[in-house]
Protein backbone atom coordinates (compact mmCIF):
# COMPACT_ATOMS: atom_id res chain seq x y z
CA UNK A 1 0.00 0.00 0.00
CA UNK A 2 1.41 3.36 -1.01
CA UNK A 3 0.43 6.47 0.93
CA UNK A 4 0.35 9.82 -0.85
CA UNK A 5 -0.09 13.26 0.63
CA UNK A 6 -2.60 15.75 -0.68
CA UNK A 7 -2.10 19.44 -0.13
CA UNK A 8 -4.37 22.32 -1.05
CA UNK A 9 -2.91 25.78 -0.64
CA UNK A 10 -3.47 29.39 -1.52
CA UNK A 11 -0.39 30.89 -3.13
CA UNK A 12 0.48 34.47 -3.96
CA UNK A 13 -0.78 35.51 -7.36
CA UNK A 14 1.92 35.02 -9.96
CA UNK A 15 2.12 35.50 -13.71
CA UNK A 16 1.47 32.35 -15.69
CA UNK A 17 5.07 32.39 -16.91
CA UNK A 18 6.19 32.16 -13.32
CA UNK A 19 3.79 29.61 -11.90
CA UNK A 20 4.04 27.32 -14.93
CA UNK A 21 7.81 27.23 -14.46
CA UNK A 22 7.35 26.35 -10.81
CA UNK A 23 4.79 23.72 -11.72
CA UNK A 24 7.03 22.15 -14.36
CA UNK A 25 10.00 22.03 -11.99
CA UNK A 26 7.92 20.48 -9.24
CA UNK A 27 6.60 17.85 -11.60
CA UNK A 28 10.13 16.90 -12.63
CA UNK A 29 10.34 15.26 -9.23
CA UNK A 30 9.07 11.74 -9.86
CA UNK A 31 7.57 11.67 -6.38
CA UNK A 32 5.27 14.62 -7.08
CA UNK A 33 2.34 13.32 -9.13
CA UNK A 34 0.15 16.40 -9.37
CA UNK A 35 1.14 20.06 -9.04
CA UNK A 36 -1.70 22.23 -10.23
CA UNK A 37 -1.54 25.99 -9.80
CA UNK A 38 -3.89 28.52 -11.33
CA UNK A 39 -3.86 32.23 -11.98
CA UNK A 40 -5.72 32.94 -8.72
CA UNK A 41 -3.05 31.11 -6.73
CA UNK A 42 -5.23 28.07 -6.00
CA UNK A 43 -2.83 25.15 -5.75
CA UNK A 44 -3.33 21.42 -5.45
CA UNK A 45 -0.55 18.87 -4.96
CA UNK A 46 -0.36 15.08 -4.74
CA UNK A 47 3.00 13.62 -3.75
CA UNK A 48 4.82 10.91 -1.87
CA UNK A 49 5.81 11.84 1.69
CA UNK A 50 9.51 11.74 0.66
CA UNK A 51 8.87 14.73 -1.63
CA UNK A 52 7.18 16.86 1.03
CA UNK A 53 10.32 18.71 2.08
CA UNK A 54 11.27 19.67 -1.46
CA UNK A 55 7.72 20.73 -2.31
CA UNK A 56 7.29 22.88 0.77
CA UNK A 57 10.69 24.47 0.30
CA UNK A 58 9.92 25.37 -3.28
CA UNK A 59 6.60 27.01 -2.46
CA UNK A 60 7.59 28.43 0.94
CA UNK A 61 8.08 32.01 -0.26
CA UNK A 62 4.76 32.21 -2.00
CA UNK A 63 2.41 30.32 0.32
CA UNK A 64 -0.35 32.45 1.79
CA UNK A 65 -2.35 29.70 3.44
CA UNK A 66 -2.38 25.92 3.66
CA UNK A 67 -6.05 25.05 3.22
CA UNK A 68 -6.04 21.30 3.52
CA UNK A 69 -3.43 18.67 4.12
CA UNK A 70 -4.17 14.97 4.34
CA UNK A 71 -2.96 11.51 3.50
CA UNK A 72 -4.61 9.10 1.17
CA UNK A 73 -3.98 5.64 -0.14
CA UNK A 74 -2.63 5.97 -3.71
CA UNK A 75 -4.92 3.17 -4.89
CA UNK A 76 -7.98 4.96 -3.46
CA UNK A 77 -6.93 8.10 -5.25
CA UNK A 78 -6.49 6.45 -8.63
CA UNK A 79 -9.60 4.32 -8.12
CA UNK A 80 -11.64 7.53 -8.28
CA UNK A 81 -10.38 8.10 -11.81
CA UNK A 82 -11.80 4.76 -12.83
CA UNK A 83 -15.03 5.23 -10.96
CA UNK A 84 -18.28 6.59 -12.41
CA UNK A 85 -18.34 8.86 -9.32
CA UNK A 86 -16.19 11.37 -11.16
CA UNK A 87 -19.02 11.88 -13.64
CA UNK A 88 -21.33 13.92 -11.41
CA UNK A 89 -18.63 16.22 -10.25
CA UNK A 90 -17.28 16.93 -13.69
CA UNK A 91 -20.65 17.24 -15.33
CA UNK A 92 -21.46 20.25 -13.20
CA UNK A 93 -18.15 21.82 -14.13
CA UNK A 94 -18.72 21.21 -17.78
CA UNK A 95 -22.21 22.61 -17.64
CA UNK A 96 -20.83 25.73 -16.02
CA UNK A 97 -18.20 26.03 -18.72
CA UNK A 98 -20.80 25.32 -21.40
CA UNK A 99 -18.48 22.70 -22.83
CA UNK A 100 -21.05 19.99 -22.77
CA UNK A 101 -23.51 18.87 -25.39
CA UNK A 102 -24.71 16.11 -23.12
CA UNK A 103 -28.46 16.54 -23.45
CA UNK A 104 -28.77 13.29 -25.33
CA UNK A 105 -26.23 11.27 -23.40
Amino acid sequence: MMIVKILRAKLKKLKQEEFSLLQYNLLLNKKIFVASIDEKGEAFFVFLPEAEKELKEKISKIVEKIEDEREENYETLTARRFSPERTKKAKAINERLKLSNCENS
Partner: protein, 530 residues
Amino acid sequence: MKVIEKTKSVCPICKRVIDAEIFEENGEVKIRKTCPEHGEFVDKYWEDYELYKKMMKYKFDGPGVENPQLPELSGANCPFDCGLCKLHLSHPLLVNMVLTNRCHLSCWYCFFYAKEGQPIYEPSIEQIEKMLKMLRSLKPVAPNAIQYTGGEPTLRKDLVEIIQLTKKLGFTHIQLNTTGINLMDKEYTKKLKDAGVNVLYMSFDGVDKNINTKNHWEVPYILESARYAKLGIVLVPTVINTWNDHELGNIINFGLNNIDIVRAVNFQPVSLVGRMPKEQREKFRITIPGAIKKIEEQTNGAITKEDWYAIPFVGAVSKFVEVLTGKPTYEFSAHPACGMATYVFLDEDKVIPITRFIDVEGLIQLLDSSADEMSGKASWERKLIAAKAALQVGKYIDKQKAPKSINFEKLLANILVKHTYSALGAFHVKTLFLGMMHFMDEYNYDIERVKRCVIHYVQPDGSEVPFCTFNVFPELYRDKVQELYSYKPEEWKKLHPGWDYQKDKYHRDIEKLEKGEAYKKTYSNLKKFW
Protein backbone atom coordinates in the same frame (compact mmCIF):
# COMPACT_ATOMS: atom_id res chain seq x y z
CA MET B 1 4.58 40.12 -41.45
CA LYS B 2 1.02 39.67 -40.26
CA VAL B 3 -0.03 38.24 -36.89
CA ILE B 4 -2.81 35.70 -37.45
CA GLU B 5 -3.47 34.41 -33.95
CA LYS B 6 -2.26 34.73 -30.39
CA THR B 7 -1.80 31.55 -28.46
CA LYS B 8 0.30 29.95 -25.71
CA SER B 9 3.33 27.76 -26.08
CA VAL B 10 6.28 26.63 -23.98
CA CYS B 11 9.91 27.65 -23.81
CA PRO B 12 11.88 24.77 -25.38
CA ILE B 13 14.58 25.18 -22.72
CA CYS B 14 12.88 25.78 -19.36
CA LYS B 15 9.36 24.67 -20.43
CA ARG B 16 7.51 27.58 -18.82
CA VAL B 17 4.23 28.48 -20.53
CA ILE B 18 4.69 31.66 -22.59
CA ASP B 19 2.69 33.77 -25.01
CA ALA B 20 3.14 32.95 -28.67
CA GLU B 21 2.09 34.47 -31.98
CA ILE B 22 1.18 32.65 -35.14
CA PHE B 23 2.12 34.91 -38.03
CA GLU B 24 2.42 35.00 -41.78
CA GLU B 25 5.72 35.76 -43.47
CA ASN B 26 6.52 35.35 -47.16
CA GLY B 27 3.51 33.10 -47.71
CA GLU B 28 4.41 30.79 -44.81
CA VAL B 29 2.92 30.46 -41.34
CA LYS B 30 5.36 30.70 -38.43
CA ILE B 31 5.27 30.68 -34.65
CA ARG B 32 7.19 33.11 -32.49
CA LYS B 33 7.59 33.15 -28.71
CA THR B 34 9.92 34.84 -26.29
CA CYS B 35 11.04 33.39 -22.98
CA PRO B 36 12.09 36.04 -20.45
CA GLU B 37 15.15 33.94 -19.68
CA HIS B 38 16.02 32.13 -22.92
CA GLY B 39 15.04 34.64 -25.58
CA GLU B 40 13.13 34.41 -28.84
CA PHE B 41 12.26 31.24 -30.74
CA VAL B 42 10.82 31.31 -34.25
CA ASP B 43 9.87 28.16 -36.10
CA LYS B 44 7.95 27.03 -39.13
CA TYR B 45 4.30 26.24 -38.31
CA TRP B 46 2.81 25.56 -41.76
CA GLU B 47 4.43 26.17 -45.12
CA ASP B 48 1.37 27.55 -46.89
CA TYR B 49 -0.57 30.55 -45.59
CA GLU B 50 -3.30 30.37 -48.26
CA LEU B 51 -4.03 26.73 -47.42
CA TYR B 52 -3.93 27.57 -43.71
CA LYS B 53 -6.55 30.31 -44.15
CA LYS B 54 -8.78 27.97 -46.13
CA MET B 55 -8.53 25.15 -43.58
CA MET B 56 -8.94 27.31 -40.48
CA LYS B 57 -12.52 27.97 -41.60
CA TYR B 58 -13.31 24.43 -40.50
CA LYS B 59 -11.99 24.75 -36.95
CA PHE B 60 -14.59 24.06 -34.28
CA ASP B 61 -14.72 23.17 -30.59
CA GLY B 62 -15.77 19.62 -29.86
CA PRO B 63 -17.87 18.56 -26.88
CA GLY B 64 -14.84 17.74 -24.73
CA VAL B 65 -15.17 15.12 -22.03
CA GLU B 66 -17.91 15.50 -19.45
CA ASN B 67 -16.27 13.16 -16.99
CA PRO B 68 -12.53 13.77 -17.26
CA GLN B 69 -10.34 11.61 -15.07
CA LEU B 70 -8.84 14.58 -13.22
CA PRO B 71 -11.74 16.98 -12.73
CA GLU B 72 -10.00 18.54 -9.73
CA LEU B 73 -7.25 20.05 -11.88
CA SER B 74 -7.64 23.65 -12.96
CA GLY B 75 -6.28 23.27 -16.47
CA ALA B 76 -4.76 26.73 -16.08
CA ASN B 77 -1.35 25.52 -17.13
CA CYS B 78 -2.12 23.35 -20.09
CA PRO B 79 -0.12 21.17 -20.87
CA PHE B 80 1.01 20.56 -17.27
CA ASP B 81 -2.44 19.95 -15.74
CA CYS B 82 -3.14 16.96 -17.87
CA GLY B 83 -4.78 13.68 -17.44
CA LEU B 84 -7.48 14.79 -18.82
CA CYS B 85 -8.64 18.02 -17.24
CA LYS B 86 -11.98 19.71 -17.69
CA LEU B 87 -10.75 22.20 -20.28
CA HIS B 88 -10.01 19.72 -23.05
CA LEU B 89 -12.09 20.56 -26.10
CA SER B 90 -12.29 17.20 -27.89
CA HIS B 91 -13.21 13.71 -26.86
CA PRO B 92 -10.70 11.01 -27.82
CA LEU B 93 -11.20 9.44 -31.23
CA LEU B 94 -8.31 7.04 -30.95
CA VAL B 95 -6.61 5.99 -27.74
CA ASN B 96 -3.11 4.57 -27.58
CA MET B 97 -2.21 2.03 -24.96
CA VAL B 98 1.41 1.01 -24.45
CA LEU B 99 1.38 -2.75 -23.91
CA THR B 100 5.09 -3.13 -23.30
CA ASN B 101 8.33 -1.21 -23.53
CA ARG B 102 10.15 -4.31 -24.72
CA CYS B 103 11.11 -4.21 -28.39
CA HIS B 104 12.77 -6.60 -30.80
CA LEU B 105 14.58 -3.72 -32.53
CA SER B 106 17.00 -1.21 -31.03
CA CYS B 107 16.65 1.80 -33.37
CA TRP B 108 19.20 4.47 -32.48
CA TYR B 109 16.68 7.31 -32.59
CA CYS B 110 14.04 5.64 -30.44
CA PHE B 111 13.66 6.57 -26.78
CA PHE B 112 10.58 4.47 -26.28
CA TYR B 113 11.94 1.01 -25.63
CA ALA B 114 13.64 -0.54 -22.60
CA LYS B 115 17.38 -0.80 -22.96
CA GLU B 116 19.23 -3.68 -21.33
CA GLY B 117 18.99 -3.52 -17.55
CA GLN B 118 16.18 -0.96 -17.55
CA PRO B 119 12.78 -1.54 -15.92
CA ILE B 120 10.16 -3.43 -17.91
CA TYR B 121 6.78 -1.80 -18.26
CA GLU B 122 4.01 -4.21 -19.14
CA PRO B 123 0.55 -3.57 -17.69
CA SER B 124 -1.25 -6.68 -16.47
CA ILE B 125 -4.41 -7.88 -18.16
CA GLU B 126 -6.37 -6.66 -15.11
CA GLN B 127 -4.88 -3.18 -15.48
CA ILE B 128 -5.63 -3.24 -19.21
CA GLU B 129 -9.24 -4.19 -18.51
CA LYS B 130 -9.58 -1.33 -16.02
CA MET B 131 -8.20 1.16 -18.53
CA LEU B 132 -10.47 -0.11 -21.29
CA LYS B 133 -13.55 0.05 -19.07
CA MET B 134 -12.68 3.56 -17.97
CA LEU B 135 -12.39 4.64 -21.62
CA ARG B 136 -15.74 3.09 -22.43
CA SER B 137 -17.27 5.10 -19.57
CA LEU B 138 -16.24 8.46 -21.06
CA LYS B 139 -19.05 10.84 -21.92
CA PRO B 140 -20.59 12.16 -24.07
CA VAL B 141 -18.82 9.83 -26.50
CA ALA B 142 -16.81 6.80 -25.45
CA PRO B 143 -13.97 6.01 -27.82
CA ASN B 144 -14.44 2.86 -29.88
CA ALA B 145 -11.00 2.89 -31.45
CA ILE B 146 -7.83 1.79 -29.75
CA GLN B 147 -4.26 1.44 -30.88
CA TYR B 148 -2.01 -1.00 -29.10
CA THR B 149 1.54 0.18 -29.20
CA GLY B 150 4.89 -0.33 -27.50
CA GLY B 151 7.78 -1.12 -27.62
CA GLU B 152 6.59 -3.89 -29.84
CA PRO B 153 3.14 -5.12 -28.77
CA THR B 154 3.55 -8.47 -30.51
CA LEU B 155 6.20 -9.44 -27.96
CA ARG B 156 3.40 -10.04 -25.48
CA LYS B 157 2.37 -13.67 -25.38
CA ASP B 158 -1.15 -12.72 -24.26
CA LEU B 159 -1.81 -10.30 -27.12
CA VAL B 160 -4.58 -12.46 -28.61
CA GLU B 161 -6.30 -12.55 -25.23
CA ILE B 162 -5.98 -8.75 -24.91
CA ILE B 163 -7.51 -8.25 -28.36
CA GLN B 164 -10.42 -10.55 -27.53
CA LEU B 165 -11.04 -8.69 -24.29
CA THR B 166 -10.94 -5.34 -26.12
CA LYS B 167 -13.53 -6.52 -28.61
CA LYS B 168 -15.71 -7.85 -25.81
CA LEU B 169 -15.65 -4.46 -24.10
CA GLY B 170 -17.13 -2.76 -27.14
CA PHE B 171 -14.17 -1.42 -29.12
CA THR B 172 -15.00 -1.77 -32.78
CA HIS B 173 -11.68 -0.63 -34.18
CA ILE B 174 -8.43 -2.16 -32.93
CA GLN B 175 -5.20 -1.27 -34.62
CA LEU B 176 -1.79 -2.64 -33.88
CA ASN B 177 1.18 -0.28 -34.09
CA THR B 178 3.94 -2.65 -35.05
CA THR B 179 7.16 -3.07 -36.99
CA GLY B 180 5.29 -5.98 -38.54
CA ILE B 181 8.29 -8.27 -38.13
CA ASN B 182 6.48 -10.89 -36.02
CA LEU B 183 3.64 -10.82 -38.54
CA MET B 184 5.79 -12.57 -41.10
CA ASP B 185 4.23 -15.58 -39.36
CA LYS B 186 1.00 -16.08 -41.34
CA GLU B 187 -0.81 -18.18 -38.75
CA TYR B 188 -0.04 -15.71 -35.98
CA THR B 189 -1.36 -12.89 -38.16
CA LYS B 190 -4.55 -14.83 -38.75
CA LYS B 191 -4.94 -15.44 -35.02
CA LEU B 192 -4.73 -11.70 -34.39
CA LYS B 193 -7.20 -10.96 -37.15
CA ASP B 194 -9.61 -13.60 -35.86
CA ALA B 195 -9.30 -12.18 -32.35
CA GLY B 196 -10.41 -8.78 -33.61
CA VAL B 197 -7.50 -6.71 -34.95
CA ASN B 198 -8.85 -4.48 -37.71
CA VAL B 199 -5.69 -3.01 -39.13
CA LEU B 200 -1.90 -3.04 -38.82
CA TYR B 201 -0.42 0.40 -38.37
CA MET B 202 3.03 -0.23 -39.73
CA SER B 203 6.07 1.98 -40.02
CA PHE B 204 7.21 2.37 -43.66
CA ASP B 205 9.65 5.21 -44.25
CA GLY B 206 10.38 4.57 -47.91
CA VAL B 207 10.58 2.02 -50.70
CA ASP B 208 14.37 2.38 -50.87
CA LYS B 209 16.19 -0.03 -48.55
CA ASN B 210 18.72 2.65 -47.64
CA ILE B 211 15.87 4.75 -46.28
CA ASN B 212 13.60 2.13 -44.73
CA THR B 213 16.12 0.23 -42.68
CA LYS B 214 13.48 -0.67 -40.11
CA ASN B 215 11.47 -3.25 -42.07
CA HIS B 216 12.27 -3.01 -45.80
CA TRP B 217 13.25 -6.69 -46.05
CA GLU B 218 10.34 -7.94 -43.99
CA VAL B 219 7.55 -5.88 -45.61
CA PRO B 220 6.98 -8.28 -48.54
CA TYR B 221 6.43 -11.18 -46.13
CA ILE B 222 4.18 -9.09 -43.90
CA LEU B 223 2.07 -8.20 -46.95
CA GLU B 224 1.77 -11.90 -47.76
CA SER B 225 0.66 -12.68 -44.21
CA ALA B 226 -1.83 -9.83 -44.25
CA ARG B 227 -3.29 -11.13 -47.52
CA TYR B 228 -3.58 -14.60 -46.04
CA ALA B 229 -5.30 -13.27 -42.94
CA LYS B 230 -7.29 -10.60 -44.85
CA LEU B 231 -5.96 -7.98 -42.47
CA GLY B 232 -5.58 -4.43 -43.83
CA ILE B 233 -2.39 -2.40 -43.46
CA VAL B 234 -1.78 1.30 -42.94
CA LEU B 235 1.69 2.37 -44.05
CA VAL B 236 3.11 5.00 -41.71
CA PRO B 237 6.05 7.02 -43.01
CA THR B 238 7.72 9.56 -40.77
CA VAL B 239 8.66 12.40 -43.14
CA ILE B 240 11.98 14.10 -42.52
CA ASN B 241 13.11 16.92 -44.76
CA THR B 242 16.36 16.18 -46.65
CA TRP B 243 16.17 12.51 -45.63
CA ASN B 244 13.12 10.79 -47.10
CA ASP B 245 11.06 13.70 -48.47
CA HIS B 246 11.96 12.52 -52.01
CA GLU B 247 10.24 9.17 -51.33
CA LEU B 248 6.66 10.38 -50.72
CA GLY B 249 5.39 9.73 -54.25
CA ASN B 250 7.11 6.33 -54.28
CA ILE B 251 5.45 5.37 -51.00
CA ILE B 252 1.98 6.18 -52.37
CA ASN B 253 2.88 4.32 -55.55
CA PHE B 254 3.87 1.32 -53.41
CA GLY B 255 0.54 1.54 -51.58
CA LEU B 256 -1.34 1.59 -54.91
CA ASN B 257 0.61 -1.47 -56.08
CA ASN B 258 -0.70 -3.26 -53.00
CA ILE B 259 -4.16 -1.68 -52.84
CA ASP B 260 -5.72 -5.09 -52.26
CA ILE B 261 -4.29 -5.06 -48.72
CA VAL B 262 -2.91 -1.55 -48.08
CA ARG B 263 -5.80 0.59 -46.88
CA ALA B 264 -4.00 3.84 -46.21
CA VAL B 265 -0.77 5.78 -46.10
CA ASN B 266 -0.57 8.05 -43.09
CA PHE B 267 2.35 10.45 -43.39
CA GLN B 268 3.76 11.91 -40.21
CA PRO B 269 5.94 15.00 -40.74
CA VAL B 270 8.71 14.76 -38.19
CA SER B 271 8.36 16.01 -34.65
CA LEU B 272 11.77 17.31 -33.59
CA VAL B 273 11.92 15.86 -30.12
CA GLY B 274 14.70 17.03 -27.82
CA ARG B 275 16.84 20.08 -28.05
CA MET B 276 18.09 20.86 -31.52
CA PRO B 277 20.10 23.79 -32.93
CA LYS B 278 18.24 26.15 -35.28
CA GLU B 279 20.21 25.05 -38.39
CA GLN B 280 19.32 21.42 -37.78
CA ARG B 281 15.66 22.27 -37.19
CA GLU B 282 15.59 24.18 -40.46
CA LYS B 283 17.20 21.24 -42.23
CA PHE B 284 14.81 18.55 -40.99
CA ARG B 285 11.56 20.52 -40.49
CA ILE B 286 8.73 19.82 -42.87
CA THR B 287 5.07 20.39 -42.13
CA ILE B 288 1.86 19.20 -43.76
CA PRO B 289 1.70 21.67 -46.70
CA GLY B 290 5.39 21.02 -47.42
CA ALA B 291 4.80 17.28 -47.66
CA ILE B 292 1.69 17.83 -49.79
CA LYS B 293 3.65 20.02 -52.21
CA LYS B 294 6.30 17.31 -52.56
CA ILE B 295 3.58 14.74 -53.25
CA GLU B 296 2.16 17.00 -55.97
CA GLU B 297 5.62 17.26 -57.57
CA GLN B 298 6.49 13.59 -57.20
CA THR B 299 3.15 12.33 -58.55
CA ASN B 300 3.32 14.67 -61.56
CA GLY B 301 0.17 16.42 -60.42
CA ALA B 302 -1.88 13.23 -59.97
CA ILE B 303 -2.49 14.32 -56.36
CA THR B 304 -2.45 18.08 -55.81
CA LYS B 305 -2.82 20.31 -52.78
CA GLU B 306 -6.44 21.04 -53.75
CA ASP B 307 -7.23 17.38 -53.09
CA TRP B 308 -6.52 17.61 -49.35
CA TYR B 309 -8.78 18.77 -46.54
CA ALA B 310 -8.16 19.32 -42.85
CA ILE B 311 -9.63 16.73 -40.47
CA PRO B 312 -12.40 18.97 -39.01
CA PHE B 313 -13.70 19.48 -42.57
CA VAL B 314 -15.83 16.38 -41.98
CA GLY B 315 -17.37 17.95 -38.86
CA ALA B 316 -20.64 18.37 -40.75
CA VAL B 317 -20.91 14.59 -41.19
CA SER B 318 -20.89 14.12 -37.40
CA LYS B 319 -23.32 16.98 -36.96
CA PHE B 320 -25.67 15.40 -39.51
CA VAL B 321 -25.53 11.95 -37.85
CA GLU B 322 -25.84 13.43 -34.34
CA VAL B 323 -28.95 15.42 -35.18
CA LEU B 324 -30.47 12.58 -37.18
CA THR B 325 -30.03 9.95 -34.46
CA GLY B 326 -30.43 12.28 -31.48
CA LYS B 327 -27.32 10.73 -29.96
CA PRO B 328 -23.85 12.15 -29.47
CA THR B 329 -21.47 10.87 -32.09
CA TYR B 330 -17.77 11.02 -32.88
CA GLU B 331 -16.65 14.53 -33.65
CA PHE B 332 -13.50 15.21 -35.63
CA SER B 333 -12.70 18.39 -33.77
CA ALA B 334 -8.91 18.20 -34.08
CA HIS B 335 -7.18 21.47 -34.91
CA PRO B 336 -6.93 21.96 -38.71
CA ALA B 337 -3.14 22.30 -38.50
CA CYS B 338 -2.83 18.81 -36.98
CA GLY B 339 -4.06 16.72 -39.86
CA MET B 340 -5.24 16.59 -43.45
CA ALA B 341 -6.52 13.79 -45.61
CA THR B 342 -7.83 12.73 -48.97
CA TYR B 343 -8.92 9.57 -50.76
CA VAL B 344 -7.59 8.32 -54.06
CA PHE B 345 -9.23 5.70 -56.25
CA LEU B 346 -7.75 3.42 -58.83
CA ASP B 347 -9.72 3.23 -62.04
CA GLU B 348 -7.76 0.56 -63.88
CA ASP B 349 -4.38 2.33 -64.08
CA LYS B 350 -5.63 5.83 -63.43
CA VAL B 351 -5.32 7.45 -60.01
CA ILE B 352 -8.34 9.63 -59.24
CA PRO B 353 -8.51 11.71 -56.06
CA ILE B 354 -12.01 11.95 -54.64
CA THR B 355 -12.16 15.70 -55.23
CA ARG B 356 -12.01 15.23 -59.00
CA PHE B 357 -15.45 13.66 -59.20
CA ILE B 358 -17.18 14.61 -55.95
CA ASP B 359 -17.90 18.21 -55.06
CA VAL B 360 -16.84 17.59 -51.46
CA GLU B 361 -17.35 21.17 -50.33
CA GLY B 362 -20.88 21.17 -51.81
CA LEU B 363 -21.65 17.82 -50.18
CA ILE B 364 -20.43 19.01 -46.78
CA GLN B 365 -22.54 22.14 -47.19
CA LEU B 366 -25.58 19.95 -47.95
CA LEU B 367 -25.01 17.95 -44.76
CA ASP B 368 -24.46 21.06 -42.70
CA SER B 369 -27.65 22.74 -43.90
CA SER B 370 -29.64 19.49 -43.61
CA ALA B 371 -28.44 19.13 -40.00
CA ASP B 372 -29.58 22.69 -39.29
CA GLU B 373 -32.94 21.91 -40.89
CA MET B 374 -33.34 18.73 -38.80
CA SER B 375 -32.44 20.45 -35.56
CA GLY B 376 -35.36 20.58 -33.10
CA LYS B 377 -37.64 18.50 -35.32
CA ALA B 378 -39.39 15.24 -34.46
CA SER B 379 -37.70 11.95 -35.29
CA TRP B 380 -39.88 11.21 -38.35
CA GLU B 381 -39.24 14.69 -39.76
CA ARG B 382 -35.52 14.30 -39.25
CA LYS B 383 -35.57 11.00 -41.09
CA LEU B 384 -37.47 12.59 -43.95
CA ILE B 385 -34.96 15.43 -44.24
CA ALA B 386 -32.08 12.93 -44.10
CA ALA B 387 -33.69 10.83 -46.84
CA LYS B 388 -34.09 13.97 -48.95
CA ALA B 389 -30.41 14.75 -48.43
CA ALA B 390 -29.42 11.19 -49.36
CA LEU B 391 -31.43 11.55 -52.59
CA GLN B 392 -29.53 14.72 -53.44
CA VAL B 393 -26.12 13.11 -53.06
CA GLY B 394 -26.06 12.22 -56.76
CA LYS B 395 -25.99 15.90 -57.68
CA TYR B 396 -22.55 16.23 -56.17
CA ILE B 397 -21.03 13.36 -58.12
CA ASP B 398 -19.66 13.75 -61.63
CA LYS B 399 -20.39 10.27 -62.95
CA GLN B 400 -18.33 10.84 -66.09
CA LYS B 401 -15.19 11.37 -64.04
CA ALA B 402 -15.90 8.88 -61.25
CA PRO B 403 -14.22 5.45 -61.25
CA LYS B 404 -16.51 3.07 -63.09
CA SER B 405 -16.13 0.16 -60.71
CA ILE B 406 -17.85 1.81 -57.75
CA ASN B 407 -21.41 3.08 -57.31
CA PHE B 408 -20.63 6.22 -55.33
CA GLU B 409 -24.18 7.45 -55.06
CA LYS B 410 -25.24 4.26 -53.27
CA LEU B 411 -22.07 4.11 -51.22
CA LEU B 412 -22.36 7.67 -49.88
CA ALA B 413 -26.09 7.42 -49.28
CA ASN B 414 -25.44 4.22 -47.29
CA ILE B 415 -22.90 5.98 -45.11
CA LEU B 416 -25.34 8.80 -44.42
CA VAL B 417 -28.34 6.63 -43.70
CA LYS B 418 -26.70 3.58 -42.05
CA HIS B 419 -23.69 5.43 -40.54
CA THR B 420 -22.21 2.12 -39.43
CA TYR B 421 -18.66 0.84 -39.34
CA SER B 422 -19.42 -1.60 -42.17
CA ALA B 423 -20.93 1.12 -44.37
CA LEU B 424 -17.76 3.14 -43.85
CA GLY B 425 -15.65 0.02 -44.35
CA ALA B 426 -17.13 -0.51 -47.83
CA PHE B 427 -15.82 2.94 -48.75
CA HIS B 428 -12.29 1.90 -47.88
CA VAL B 429 -12.11 -1.35 -49.81
CA LYS B 430 -11.36 0.07 -53.24
CA THR B 431 -9.64 3.23 -52.17
CA LEU B 432 -6.40 4.39 -50.67
CA PHE B 433 -6.81 6.83 -47.81
CA LEU B 434 -3.99 9.35 -47.64
CA GLY B 435 -3.49 11.09 -44.35
CA MET B 436 -1.11 13.61 -42.85
CA MET B 437 -0.67 13.87 -39.14
CA HIS B 438 1.80 16.36 -37.77
CA PHE B 439 2.65 15.87 -34.12
CA MET B 440 4.14 18.88 -32.42
CA ASP B 441 7.41 19.41 -30.59
CA GLU B 442 8.69 21.99 -28.14
CA TYR B 443 9.49 24.47 -30.92
CA ASN B 444 6.11 24.62 -32.65
CA TYR B 445 3.98 23.71 -29.63
CA ASP B 446 0.58 25.42 -29.75
CA ILE B 447 -1.72 24.94 -26.79
CA GLU B 448 -4.77 25.71 -28.98
CA ARG B 449 -3.85 22.58 -30.91
CA VAL B 450 -3.20 20.31 -27.95
CA LYS B 451 -6.49 21.31 -26.30
CA ARG B 452 -8.28 19.92 -29.33
CA CYS B 453 -6.24 16.74 -29.62
CA VAL B 454 -8.26 13.62 -30.48
CA ILE B 455 -5.47 11.05 -30.14
CA HIS B 456 -4.67 10.22 -26.54
CA TYR B 457 -2.72 7.80 -24.39
CA VAL B 458 -4.27 5.96 -21.46
CA GLN B 459 -2.19 4.88 -18.47
CA PRO B 460 -2.72 2.47 -15.55
CA ASP B 461 -2.96 5.32 -13.04
CA GLY B 462 -6.24 6.25 -14.74
CA SER B 463 -4.83 9.24 -16.62
CA GLU B 464 -5.46 9.99 -20.27
CA VAL B 465 -3.03 12.35 -21.97
CA PRO B 466 -3.10 13.89 -25.48
CA PHE B 467 -0.44 12.58 -27.85
CA CYS B 468 1.61 15.77 -28.05
CA THR B 469 1.61 16.22 -24.30
CA PHE B 470 2.55 12.61 -23.65
CA ASN B 471 5.42 12.59 -26.14
CA VAL B 472 6.71 16.16 -25.84
CA PHE B 473 6.84 16.01 -22.03
CA PRO B 474 7.60 12.33 -21.43
CA GLU B 475 9.32 13.24 -18.17
CA LEU B 476 6.00 14.38 -16.70
CA TYR B 477 3.62 11.72 -17.91
CA ARG B 478 5.01 8.65 -19.64
CA ASP B 479 8.22 8.06 -17.70
CA LYS B 480 6.77 8.88 -14.32
CA VAL B 481 3.77 6.57 -14.59
CA GLN B 482 5.61 3.80 -16.38
CA GLU B 483 8.30 3.77 -13.69
CA LEU B 484 5.67 3.47 -11.01
CA TYR B 485 4.09 0.48 -12.74
CA SER B 486 7.30 -1.18 -13.99
CA TYR B 487 9.19 -4.27 -12.95
CA LYS B 488 12.86 -4.17 -12.12
CA PRO B 489 14.76 -6.52 -14.48
CA GLU B 490 15.36 -9.02 -11.66
CA GLU B 491 11.63 -9.01 -10.75
CA TRP B 492 10.76 -9.51 -14.40
CA LYS B 493 13.17 -12.42 -14.71
CA LYS B 494 11.68 -14.03 -11.63
CA LEU B 495 8.18 -13.74 -13.08
CA HIS B 496 9.33 -14.98 -16.50
CA PRO B 497 11.86 -17.77 -15.98
CA GLY B 498 14.04 -18.24 -19.02
CA TRP B 499 13.51 -14.70 -20.28
CA ASP B 500 16.56 -12.88 -21.44
CA TYR B 501 16.85 -9.37 -22.89
CA GLN B 502 18.77 -10.58 -25.93
CA LYS B 503 16.19 -13.28 -26.67
CA ASP B 504 13.66 -10.54 -27.45
CA LYS B 505 15.88 -9.15 -30.20
CA TYR B 506 15.31 -9.82 -33.89
CA HIS B 507 18.27 -10.82 -36.05
CA ARG B 508 17.84 -10.17 -39.75
CA ASP B 509 19.19 -12.44 -42.47
CA ILE B 510 19.21 -10.00 -45.38
CA GLU B 511 20.52 -12.50 -47.92
CA LYS B 512 17.79 -15.01 -47.16
CA LEU B 513 15.05 -12.39 -47.19
CA GLU B 514 16.19 -10.89 -50.49
CA LYS B 515 16.20 -14.31 -52.12
CA GLY B 516 12.61 -15.01 -51.18
CA GLU B 517 9.87 -14.98 -53.85
CA ALA B 518 7.75 -12.51 -51.92
CA TYR B 519 10.63 -10.01 -51.79
CA LYS B 520 11.28 -10.22 -55.51
CA LYS B 521 7.58 -10.04 -56.36
CA THR B 522 7.02 -7.02 -54.14
CA TYR B 523 9.90 -4.81 -55.17
CA SER B 524 10.62 -5.86 -58.79
CA ASN B 525 8.50 -4.43 -61.54
CA LEU B 526 6.48 -2.08 -59.38
CA LYS B 527 3.87 -0.50 -61.63
CA LYS B 528 4.37 3.26 -61.96
CA PHE B 529 1.12 5.16 -61.66
CA TRP B 530 2.57 8.51 -62.77
